[in-house]
Every structure is written in structure tokens, then in C-alpha cells.
């Protein structure tokens, strides 16, 4: 049975529950003089404990596995970009840090599978709050976040990352776009991850 506002609340709801389970809220009696002196022992003990500090520039501890760091624009297995220039990331961004301009994939200048690719892709790290809403918005998993956090720089202009700063590096078996799509495939095959690598015919194709 679904609870609604008309159902009477149980006796131990909210504050009443807290009050019944723990100490009653009363005026605190001041603790004795010697009990108060125990605080000095706490700080004295702490002097001999191991500090929590990480000596950062010399020692770098790995981040949490899902730490929100610098963004990355991923590639399909044959090297084509996953970004389709839909701008959903830019729309999702609460800090207005992302600029995307899409363009059509032309014959001989195929950057991503399908019709469109992101021609301009900029992330302004002066504005980015690393909330990850852009990653949630991305329909092709083109945009993800790495664990890289050392993003400080000495000029504002250096902190606007362009597409080539964000693109994932080419791995083994990948080809530098633009190049044609895998023979006999369409954007659906790419999307379902059925393209497992590049085909020799993609390499020999004439570059634009």
C-alpha cells in the first residue's frame, strides 16, 4: 500500500524517533575540570600520529577510479571520432563551458560515422565545474572524463582546450581521420560496436 499524506505517521517518525533512540535533548551539564583537561591529551597524542598530508608534487596518489578530471573525446576502433556534433553536452553544461559547432561529413572528408561530426569543440576549463552532466548527456559516449587533474596554467587562453587537446590518442590499429567508414558498415554498426578495427581499404583511400 502506497503511503500518502493521509496515512497517520508512525510514532517513531523523524525527530521523535531520534529522540526516543538516543539521548534526550536537555541542557548539557558542564563536564568536570579534569574531564575538560583530557582535550590537551588529545592534541598531544596527535603530535605523534602520522600526518595525513600527501607531499603532492613529489608524491602523487592515484585518484578515485571515477574521479572527474579532464575531458576526453573518444574514437571508434578504426580511428573515426565518436562525436557527432549534436551539442547536447553544450546544452547540458550548467556553467556554459562547452562550445560545439557541428559540420557535415563530406565525401572524402569523413571524420565520424554518419552525417555529422564536431568541427569545433572547445571546453573552457576556467568555467568548467567538473559536474559530469556533459558526460551524461552524450548520446554516443564520445565525451568521457579522465582522471587527469593537473590543469593549472599561467594564461587564461591556455585553459580553453581545443578539439585536438581533448581527442583521445590513436591506438594500435586506428587510422587518422578523415578516412571513409569501414566497408559495408553504417552508423548503426559503429554505434553497436561491431567495428573492431580498421580495414586496409580505409587507409588507401585518397585523403581530402
Amino acid at each position: 500500500m502506497a503511503e500518502n499524506s493521509l496515512t497517520p505517521r508512525p510514532e517513531d517518525f523523524g525527530l521523535a524517533k531520534a529522540a526516543s533512540e538516543s539521548v534526550p535533548i536537555t541542557d548539557q551539564e558542564p563536564s568536570g575540570f579534569f574531564k575538560q583537561l583530557l582535550g590537551f591529551w588529545v592534541t598531544f597524542q596527535a603530535m605523534f600520529k602520522k600526518p595525513n598530508t600527501v607531499q603532492y608534487p613529489e608524491v602523487k596518489e592515484p585518484t578515485a577510479p571515477r574521479f572527474h578530471g579532464r575531458h576526453q573525446l573518444n574514437r571508434h576502433e578504426d580511428g573515426l571520432e565518436k562525436c557527432i556534433g549534436c551539442e547536447l553536452c553544450a546544452w547540458a553544461c550548467p556553467a556554459d563551458a562547452i562550445l560545439v559547432e557541428g559540420a557535415n561529413n563530406e565525401e572524402g572528408a569523413q571524420f565520424s560515422p554518419g552525417e555529422r561530426y564536431g568541427r569545433v569543440y572547445q571546453i573552457n576549463y576556467l568555467r568548467c565545474i567538473f559536474c559530469g552532466l556533459c558526460i551524461e548527456a552524450c548520446p554516443t559516449r564520445a565525451l568521457t572524463m579522465t582522471n587527469e587533474y593537473e590543469l593549472a596554467d599561467d594564461q587564461r587562453s591556455k585553459l580553453i582546450f581545443e578539439k585536438e587537446d581533448l581527442l583521445a590518442p590513436l591506438r594500435q590499429g586506428m587510422l587518422m581521420p578523415p578516412h571513409p567508414m569501414y566497408p559495408g558498415s553504417d552508423d548503426g554498426t559503429y554505434y553497436r560496436g561491431e567495428v573492431k578495427g580498421s580495414h586496409p581499404s580505409q587507409e588507401t583511400a585518397p585523403h581530402a
Partner: protein, 407 residues
Amino acid sequence: MNAAQLIANDPGWVILVKGLLVFVLCVVLTLMSVWGERRLVSFMQMRVGPNRVGKFGLLQSLADGVKLALKEDLIPKAADRIVFVIAPIISATTCFMAFAVIPMTGKVSLFGHQTVMQLTDLPVGVLYVLAIASVGVYGIVLAGWSSGSTYPLLGGLRSSAQVISYEVAMGLSLVAVFIYAGSMSTSDIVAAQNHWWFAVVLFPSFVIYAISMVGETNRAPFDLAEAEGELVGGFHTEYSSLKFALFFLAEYVNIVAVSSLATTLFLGGYHALPGLGFTETWLGGWFTMVWYLLKVIFFFFIFVWLRGTLPRMRYDQFMQFGWKVLIPVSLLWIMVVSTLRIMSQRNTGRPIIMGFTVGVVLIVLAVTSLFDSAKRRRREADALGELPEPSFPVPAIPEPRVEQLNG
């Protein structure tokens, strides 16, 4: 020859050299204490503190000083320019002056001249220190007033009220020392502690002095004058660059100064710990300075420990503590001490002295238990539900209360 005679025989160049040495010692102690405090407090908070500049970060305060010196020196438009400049100078100079009467070593030879490491030996040396400390308050008051801004004014007023109230308690705690030493000269007081330190003989005085010296130097938990959460920086909010550095310097020199005075008056000054008296002749007597420094560092550690442990007190509690606890207690203690002293001087019989002591203890116990029961009764009266009914009509409190809290 005693210390006073030795000092009186100093030629001019020895005085100059000693003055320079004392000044250098103060500055070095200050730099080291800033570093030491930051390191110690960080250990208490499980951090490591400054460890970059120099070995273990030892040069950190030097780097900070250079940074402060190179910063822009701002004087607000609303400030009274002359007073604004004079205030930090007053603060910094007065705290150095207190060191003139602190005995740092026993008899030593300085470039072949027999002397003691004490710049001058006034017959009223301790009074001189208290007077200098009072002049130092002017630095704070004038800084707060001349800044032409609200927070510094509030901070300056607070700290002047604080320093003045705690100076009363401090002065009273010293009276017992004067009575027992029979002198106000610092070297005589040290000499009077040959057998027993005054920290043992006059323990209540020592405790009162130790508390009031924290209040006097505006340090945590009595750092109401620069309560960052309430008053930004307190009296030095509007100060920058070297003028701020002077206040910073003054604060730490002050800590070292009150610690030195405590060492001199209560911990036997430059004398070695009991049982280690043979060390006093090492290095031609210069080893006594190590004892002096160790005792000062001990007090400094207490300062840092207090800061690391206690939260800041509320202003009214603080004043109440000073005026209603410290001052009456020290007045009572002085009465007891002076009575005992006179009795022993007149060779009063042991039973009478014992009777007097027991009587005082009984009276103190009776008064404190009366206070305690009064407090308990007040607390019970204040308990929820026993509040007196107001004379004007009020809406009934809904029952049960928890239901109301849940909305």
C-alpha cells in the same frame, strides 16, 4: 660581585655588544617561533606544516618576511596617516624593550670582560616590564583607532580592554614574588630562587601569571582581538606590507618576552634544572643560556598547545573570568602569602602558622562549596519547564511537543 655590580662595571662597548646580541636573539627567536608554532600546530592537527623553504622549512618565516616587505604598502583614505604609521612602530619597539632587564646567563666572559647577559639591572626591573607592556597597548589602540574603519576599531577596543584587565591580574600575581624575593630586580629574583623555584613555592601565583600572560599577549584561546570569524583581522585589518610585519613581529616577540619573564620570575631564570647544577659552569658559564632558552621554549610550547586545543572564549566570559575569578583569587592569595611571610619573619610558633593555614583552607573550601551549591540551584531553576509564568497572555503550548516539531 653580584649581577648588579657586574652590570654597573660594563664599559660602553660591552653594553653595545650586549644590546646587539639581545636584539639578534629576539629576532632569531621570533623567526624560529613562527616556524615552530606552525609546525607544532600542524602536528597537532595531523598535518606537516611548512617544510619547503630550507631544511624542514626552517627559512619559511624569512621567506614570508621578504614577501611582506615586497608587498604594496596601503594606507586607507580614512586613516589618520601619522598615527597609522606610528602605531606599529610603538608595538614593535616596546616589546623589544622588555628584554633589557631579562637575565639570560649567569656570570660569563664577553671578549675577556666579566659580565652577565643582562642589558641593565633596574631595582624595579619587573615594574619596568609591566610599564613597557602597558605602553605596548597604545600600539594596538592607536592602530585600531587610526585605521578609520569599523572592524579594526572594535578589535583595538577589545584588545585594549583585554590587555588592561589581564595586566591587573598579572601585576597582582607578581606581588607574591616580590614579597618572597624581597626585591623587584630581576637578577635578585633569580638569585632568590637558588633553592626552590617560585613556581613551586608560589604555585597559585604561577598559575595566575600563566593564564594572564596568555590574555596579555592576545593569544588563543584569548585571541578575541583578532577573532577572524567576527572581526576580520582585528586591529591590524587595514595594515599591509612592512607595517603588518611589525605587528606580526611584535606579537611573537611579546610571547617570547612574557615567557622570558615567567622563566625569570617562576622557573629560576637561567639556573639549571634541580640536580643538574654542575652544567652551569660549562662553556665558561654560557651554558646557562641554554637553560634559559629551554625554559622559554617550554612556555612557548604551552602557548602553542593551548592554541591547538582550546576554542576561542566568548568576550563576556573572558572578562568575567579576568575580573571575577583571577583578580579576587590573586588578592586573596597575596593576603595569605604576606601574612605567612610576616609570621615567619617574626618567628611565630609553628602551631599558629599551621592553624592559620588550615583556617584559610577551610574558608576557601566553605566559600567554593557555597558557590557550587548556589550554581546548582540556579541551574535547576533555569531548567526547562520551571520558567515563571509571564504576566501577559500567551498561547498554550501544544502537546506533545514532538508532534509540533514534525510539522
